[in-house]
């Protein structure tokens, strides 16, 4: 990990004009990332942002760090090659739901199962923004868009379920209306060794305005957001009057007055068994029901790059540093005088 440094937000702001639509949720996320960076004590020169294509993917241009704005869907693959060769760097991947879950879905799940040291920010606005409003892999069934005038037939991904299904060691969810929570999640994700994914509910006010309004608007949050806290019973609502019980692989919302606090499921983000976190991720498939936010899972498993580098060290210890002449003489040879 890079050494720590003292920076201000300005140190993280590039000289490029930010060109998202006015009112886009991406502005809030950018600010939260820059602030998280100052709190983490990172150095801009040791930080790399790699993105694919889409509105969110313009992100690297706005960070005063190293960065690549690459091609659609491939950011996790490119970032994997960088992270495996340069463990001294802090490598972040940024992309939207189309970029990371649709065209790049394969790279996402494989980065996750390998547990390469990457922090992946998934901006989920449930729509294609840059191509002007087609349904995305997280759009709800029946959604009317330019490419689905009679309603989308596609069943959407539940990103947290998908990510847990790929055996993620870290996955969290946050939303663009709560800067403090975003900063907290970004810092937690950054500190995790391995692939950490943060799903960010992001509002696209041009093509999918208010997609999360039912849960993220100020008045709705208390009753609709279930904050996950490690080691604590899962409770939400005014005075914590609602709770969650996970039983037989299914999570359900209960009234604390009915069941008592002792009956509530206690959240353990480092539970080796991901099935409780998975059940929680199924609690709300659409943002019209109480939705868990926070760290679903933060579990330790060997990180790919560390093992790869350990193998290199081991090979050198066993065979000595590679010698080309020895290599060339490695098959049977014969002499001709």
């Amino acid at each position: 990990m890079p050494e720590t440094a003292t920076t201000t937000r300005k140190d993280w702001v590039s000289d490029q004009e930010v060109r998202w639509c006015p009112g886009c949720g991406d502005y809030g996320i950018l600010l939260a990332v820059q602030m998280a960076m100052t709190e983490l004590g990172n150095k801009p020169d040791d930080t790399v942002f790699i993105s694919g294509i889409g509105c969110a993917a313009r992100f690297p241009y706005y960070m005063n760090t190293y960065g690549i704005h690459s091609i659609h869907g491939r950011a996790p693959a490119i970032a994997s090659g960088l992270a495996l060769t340069r463990p001294d760097l802090d490598v972040w991947v940024v992309g939207g739901d189309g970029d990371i879950l649709s065209i790049g879905g394969n790279h996402l799940i494989h980065a996750i199962r390998r547990n390469i040291n990457l922090t992946i920010l998934l901006f989920n606005n449930r729509i294609y923004g840059l191509t002007k409003g087609q349904y995305s892999p997280t759009s709800e069934e029946g959604k009317i868009t330019k490419s689905s005038p009679m309603g989308s037939i596609d069943h959407p991904f539940n990103p947290i379920s998908l990510i847990l299904g790929a055996d993620a060691t870290f996955v969290a969810r946050t939303h663009d209306m709560d800067r403090k929570h975003m900063i907290e999640m970004f810092k937690r994700a950054h500190d995790h060794k391995g692939t950490a994914v943060v799903e960010i509910f992001q509002n696209c006010n041009v093509f999918n305005n208010g997609a999360y309004g039912q849960i993220t608007s100020k008045g709705a949050r208390e009753e609709m957001i279930i904050d996950l806290h490690d080691g604590q019973p899962i409770r939400f609502g005014a005075e914590g009057r609602h709770g969650v019980i996970v039983e037989h692989g299914v999570a359900k919302v209960v009234e604390v007055a009915d069941v008592g606090v002792g009956a509530l499921t206690v959240h353990h983000h480092d539970n080796p068994d991901p099935s409780v976190a998975f059940a929680l991720s199924r609690l709300a498939s659409n943002p019209d029901a109480p939705t868990p936010m926070g760290v679903f899972r933060d579990f330790e498993r060997s990180e790919y790059g560390s093992v790869l580098n350990a193998q290199i060290a081991q090979a050198i210890a066993d065979k000595g540093p590679g010698d080309l002449d020895t290599l060339l003489h490695g098959l049977p040879t014969w002499e001709i005088d």
Binding site: S14, Q16, P44, D45, D46, V48, I50, P60, Y61, M63, N64, T65, Y66, G67, I68, H69, S70, I71, R74, P76, A77, I78, A79, S80, G81, L82, A83, L84, T85, R86, D88, L89, N106, H107, H110, L308, Q311, I312, Q314, A315, I316, D318, K319, G320, P321, G322, L324, D325, L327, L328, H329, L331, P332, T333, W334, E335, I336, D337
Partner: protein, 639 residues
């Protein structure tokens, strides 16, 4: 053929097949060369048998060339023509170029192998046959109406038939090996026979069996017993009249090893990394016939080689590009279908102007095509297979050992010019072998690496500034490693100006497109001019690229011997071409281009130089033989 590190012109082999009148100390008649083809069912171990015969011959000092041919299916139906696996080896007492025209000896382990490969055998050739396999069922599966060992159909050949399966079982019966398992050693029986017939040393095979099957004592015992039984059988079966010896070749002094193209290419990449002084990263997805490069490089972590088996071809090249961005030599290896998938990322590499080596071990296409057969039909996709104006250097290797030097050259161009480079090999080079006189590592070319570590420009106000796309005199931009203090910047696939930032200015795009093209064109300044081989005053030149080198060299040699004047050019660099190439071509009356495709290089020559190139093409999944090239070159000249 023997490759020398200075890549000099090859000595053309003598053409007479047999000189069995001259006798030396031993009683065994000498021949200058033999071509043996081992053929059997996929499960019969023919690749291994051929490989052992080759190894013993290499250690004996012969020059040689090999051609393995196997079915695409791992377990094609047993006993059928589709399931025939063959290995052809040409050994000689002189410098040779190819696995030969037609085998003089065919080892056929079953009727299907005989049926499939008999047409390839020379007139009056020798057939060594496992008679046990010629039962009604197998004959039927191979489509024989009557047993060729019993009718007259093989009358024109010298047939040596032996009950190899039963004799192998017999030889193993006191070893405690189950008869079923013993049967599996029958390929060593065949090897024993052939080794005796062609006076091969047996020690290397003994040693190899003991090493290879270490810990499996029964297998060692069975294989050794079968090998010995084959040897004894040949000696006792009155085959003395058929016995021949091929004396060691008079090769240039040095240390030799027998190498295939995929291994040589892997070593070349490691050598390139050594010469550049930066580590190698391979992102690869398994694909025939390129996977062996991944396997080979995976063995060499002690060279700092990071191999990464990616989830798909796209991630393979993406991870390699990420590694290059980080300052390593990013390499990806594949075959045609994979190259198609990598196309978009290679375009990104063109735009980012980062080093990247893409190795395409070509096979028959399109689509799955002929996955285990060779072809050289990816030249056009290598040159043009990207959207937009996206030129990049394309080079090719021409013999198995040459893959070593081609890989170093690919690394050199990629690293020094910060560009993706496509290196074309093919299945024939990848799997075929030849003796290689090992180069001295002190003679390998130096590869210069410069990372930018500080400002590279002074702005209008006289202040230091840093421009990621400011170019040097070769139009190459700097390589800046993330982590370098003070040089944080962003790059991307969107059009950019010198700052690396997005620019949609119309004139800037035109400028950048033309600059990228000129950048690649100027690489020609680092390529040595071509010196044609053959007759300096010839009006006709035979122009080749890739694995046709051996066959073209042999064919041109034979035609010249008949008194015709011919020149020969074989290309390493296809984009950009060497600097004198166009002028040189225009100086010939006739330019003939043999290719294992529909005429892709010929098309290129016509387009670039307005030269009326004549194509000779072959698209059968098999390399040209010298004999067919002689005929077709003569036809073309006389037409």
């Amino acid at each position: 053929m023997v490759i020398r590190s200075n890549d000099a012109e090859y000595v053309e082999g003598k053409e007479t097949v047999v000189t069995d009148t001259e006798e030396r100390t031993s009683e065994i008649p000498e021949v200058e060369r033999i071509i043996v083809r081992f053929a059997g069912d996929s499960g019969d171990g023919m690749q291994l048998t051929g490989d052992r015969f080759t190894a013993a011959s290499a250690l004996f000092g012969n020059d040689l060339a090999t051609l393995p041919e196997y079915p695409a299916e791992i377990r094609a139906p047993a006993g059928t023509l589709a399931g025939v696996s063959a290995f052809q080896v040409h050994i000689a007492d002189h410098d040779i170029n190819t696995p030969g025209d037609s085998p003089g000896v065919l080892v056929a382990m079953n009727p299907a192998a005989l049926k499939a490969d008999l047409p390839k055998v020379v007139e009056h050739g020798t057939l060594i046959i496992n008679s046990d396999a010629f039962d009604e069922r197998n004959l039927h599966k191979a489509g024989y109406e009557s047993n060729p060992l019993e009718d007259d159909s093989l009358a024109g050949y010298q047939v040596i038939s032996a009950p190899m399966t039963s004799l192998t079982k017999e030889a193993c019966k006191d070893l405690g090996v189950k008869p079923r398992d013993a049967e599996r050693s029958k390929n060593f029986f065949a090897l024993g026979m052939v080794s005796w017939l062609y006076s091969r040393p047996t020690r290397p095979t003994h040693d190899w069996i003991e090493e290879k099957f270490k810990g499996k004592d029964l297998v060692i015992a069975a294989n050794l017993a079968a090998f010995k039984a084959g040897d004894v059988y040949a000696e006792n079966a009155d085959l003395w009249a058929s016995r021949r010896i091929v004396r060691p070749a008079h090769l240039a002094p040095g240390t030799y090893t027998n190498i295939n193209g995929n291994t040589a290419l892997s070593w070349g990449l490691i050598a390139g990394s050594r010469q550049a002084g930066i580590p190698l990263f391979l992102g690869s997805y398994p694909i025939t016939p390129a996977s062996d490069i991944l396997h080979e490089l995976a063995k060499h972590r002690n060279f700092g080689v990071r191999t990464f088996q990616a989830e798909d071809e796209i991630a393979a090249v993406g991870s390699a590009l990420g590694a290059s961005y980080g300052g390593h030599i990013g390499v990806t290896t594949t075959s045609g279908p994979g190259l198609a998938l990598k196309s978009e990322t290679i375009g990104l590499a063109v735009s980012l102007e980062l080093p990247l080596v893409i190795v395409d071990v070509q096979r028959g296409g399109p689509s799955t095509g002929l996955p285990t057969k060779t072809e050289a039909s990816d030249l056009m996709i290598a040159l043009y297979g990207r959207h937009g104006e996206a030129p990049l250097p394309v080079i090719s290797s021409s013999t198995p050992a040459d893959c070593f030097f081609a890989a170093i050259e690919a690394v050199r161009i990629a690293v020094e010019y910060r560009t993706p480079v496509i290196l074309l090999s093919d299945g024939y080079l990848g799997n075929g072998t030849e003796p290689w006189r090992l180069p001295s590592i002190n003679d390998l070319p130096e590869i210069k690496v410069n990372y930018l570590t500080g400002p590279n420009h002074v702005d209008a106000e006289g202040a230091d500034e840093f421009l990621p796309y400011l170019r040097d005199e070769t139009l190459t931009r700097p390589w800046i490693l993330p982590g370098t203090p003070g040089l944080a910047h962003r790059i991307g696939g969107i059009e950019k100006d010198e700052t690396g930032n997005i620019s949609y200015v119309p004139a800037n795009h035109e400028h950048m497109v033309r600059t990228r093209a000129e950048h690649i064109a100027r690489i020609a300044d680092s390529i040595p001019p071509i010196v044609p081989a053959g007759d300096a005053d010839a009006d006709v030149v035979v122009l080749g690229w890739g694995s046709t080198r051996g066959a073209i060299t042999a064919a041109v040699g034979r035609i010249r011997k008949k008194g015709r004047k011919l020149a020969r050019i074989h290309l390493r660099h296809i984009n950009p071409f060497p600097p004198n190439f166009g002028d040189l071509l225009r100086g010939y009356e006739t330019v003939i281009v043999p290719e294992m495709n529909m005429g892709q290089l010929a098309h290129e020559i016509r387009a670039d130089f307005l030269v009326d190139a004549r194509s000779i093409t072959k698209i059968m999944g098999q390399p040209f033989t010298p004999a067919e090239l002689v005929e077709r070159i003569e036809e073309t000249i006389d037409a």
